[in-house]
Amino acid sequence: MSIINYASREIQFKIVYYGPALCGKTTNLAYIHQRINPENRGDLVSLATAADRTLFFDFLPLNAVVIKGFVTKFQLYTVPGQVIYNATRQLVLRSVDGMIFVADSQWEKMEENVESFKNLEDNLAKQNISIDEIPYVLQYNKRDLENIAPVNYLEYVLNNRKRRVQSFEVISSTGQNVFASLNAVSQILLHKFSKQSDVPKAAPAPVAIPVEPSVAQKQSAAV
């Protein structure tokens, strides 16, 4: 979380695209960069190898007026998906405000999806953050390919936590649901910091209360 500069009336939020190698994180950013009003974006900075694999991170700054009286700057980052670059992923996750986890819908990528999600949880834990504290949404990408798992299977594998999050069927190469998922995480993020979210929720009723057996019960059981 950054500090707000009240003089310039700016708020900055950092959103990180996380997921396994070649799942389409950079394609998401490239599509957003291509389609958003040029007045509302900066340059797309991509630190890639000659083979177009993300080496360090991709970075795209976006501006929006979404909070009355403030310029809101969203900084979109991707992490390198390749397993060996875990130190870089930890660096990019520093001060993260919101996340989009991009899963590859192909059957053969399921293990990599699960490993990457576990890696995300581990890397957040190193910053003493639980994934349940961070606003995030799920993208099931590459829905246009043939060899893909059904959405309910992906939900079972990746969205089976106590807190179910929003998920989107995405084709990042054509832009299907790319903006929808970005807007969803942005709204969750903004509402996290708004005053209304302070309203205390009613405590859930306890399912079962363990009762210590009385002395008389213990004695009768012993007999």
């Binding site: 500069n5 003089a7 389609r35 900066g42 700054p61 809101t72 996290k192 910091f193 005053k195």
Partner: protein, 155 residues
């Protein structure tokens, strides 16, 4: 509700005073204070020459990337980094555990002068930021202040 740490107008004026004084003495073009996640906290100087947001993201990455290099020679991290160009250069130094200061300078000055004045400036900035974290102001807004329309539009 989660309050966002906030620099008031008075805090920004104090920070600008420190950074402005540094730029005058060091004869540098621009100085930016960022957190280690790459977010800009404050900036002072000629901002027309470059996109400060991108400089901040890359500088934070560069600083973190050399940490492993430092560890290999028995250091926790390098306190300062210098990138030398043909006409323009960047000097970065650590302010505290969460903050970095970036200075961009050209031919009018030398790295020695920038390095010399940046050390005391970093201490002043660290003291100011520490006072914020100890008794800092939090900022939050009403949900009604958030626009209902999609934040970003596909053109």
């Amino acid at each position: 509700m989660n309050a966002i740490p906030c620099l008031t107008i008075e805090d920004v004026a104090n920070l600008d005073g420190i950074l402005g004084n540094f730029l005058t003495k060091a004869e540098a073009e621009l100085t930016v204070v960022i957190d280690r996640g790459g977010n800009v906290i404050s900036q002072f100087g000629d901002m027309t020459v470059m996109d400060v947001t991108i400089i901040a993201a890359l500088a934070a990455g560069s600083f973190a990337a050399t940490k492993e290099l430092a560890r290999r020679i028995g250091e926790v991290e390098f306190n300062a980094l210098y990138h030398q160009g043909n006409g323009n250069h960047i000097f970065m130094n650590s302010v505290d555990d969460d903050t970095i200061m970036i200075t961009v300078f050209g031919r009018r000055t030398t790295v020695g002068l920038v390095r010399f004045y940046s050390a005391s400036t970093a201490q002043s900035v660290a003291a100011l930021l520490k006072s914020l974290s100890n008794g800092g102001h939090g900022f939050s807004f009403d949900a009604s202040d958030i626009t209902a329309t999609p934040v970003f539009a596909d053109q």
